[in-house]
């Protein structure tokens, strides 16, 4: 169920990330004030920070889940509460992995480091 993702990892000043030039339809996982995981390849992205790190990153696997799938999975594997806002990003321990979640009205994207993808997939029952 978890598939390899091609993401772009950005580290820059928080202000430059706030105003980064990223296509509007692209999902941006803001993992820290100065860091983001972007669901697009790095050629489409620029930020106003001469010292920014912008690199392609193949180190993540992810899966879209309907809420019918996601709710029982999270109930058994996530000890913290999701934010209510949609769409929004959340991150924390899920199935023992440092997971990034992208929450939409009718579905959820879970992104985990590839080194834990198989074990997370086992917990997803796939």
């Amino acid at each position: 169920m978890l598939e390899p993702l091609l993401l772009t990892r950005i580290v820059s000043t928080p202000a430059a990330l706030d105003t980064a030039d990223i296509p509007a339809e692209v999902i941006v996982l803001r993992t820290a004030p100065d860091e983001a995981l972007v669901l697009a390849d790095s050629s489409t992205i620029s930020v106003d920070d001469p010292h920014a790190i912008i690199v392609d990153d193949t180190g993540w696997h992810g899966a879209w889940m309907s809420w019918d799938q996601a709710i029982p999975f999270l109930q058994a594997n996530c000890a913290w509460e999701l934010p209510a806002e949609r769409p929004s990003m959340a991150q924390g321990r899920v199935a023992d992995a440092p997971a990034k979640l992208w929450l939409e009205d009718d579905r959820m994207l879970i992104v985990v480091p590839h080194v834990m993808a198989r074990d997370v997939a086992d917990r997803m029952g796939s």
Binding site: T31, A32, P33, E35, A79, W80, E81, P83, A90, Q91, G92, R93, P98
Partner: protein, 77 residues
């Protein structure tokens, strides 16, 4: 155990997502520079009451956050 630590970036999370980092405090009474170095490097605070400490959110943003904890109740303020 479920100490719950507020992360300004990710929200409140249980302690097992975190790594502790002490913020050393050298008592003002120690004035000699060498003695202050020794105190900072070798002695732990473990004060009773509200203490400032750093926690690294290993399972979330992977950043240090500074929080205040009441060491008598293990609640974060």
């Amino acid at each position: 155990m479920a100490l719950r630590i507020p992360c300004p970036h990710c929200g409140t999370r249980a302690i097992d997502e975190w790594v502790y980092g002490e913020i050393p405090i050298v008592p003002d009474a120690i004035t000699d520079a060498d003695a202050r170095d020794v105190d900072r490097a070798y002695f732990h605070n473990n004060a009773e009451g509200v203490v400032r400490e750093a926690w690294f959110h290993l399972y979330g943003c992977r950043r240090w956050v500074t929080v205040e904890r009441d060491s008598r109740t293990d609640t974060f303020l």
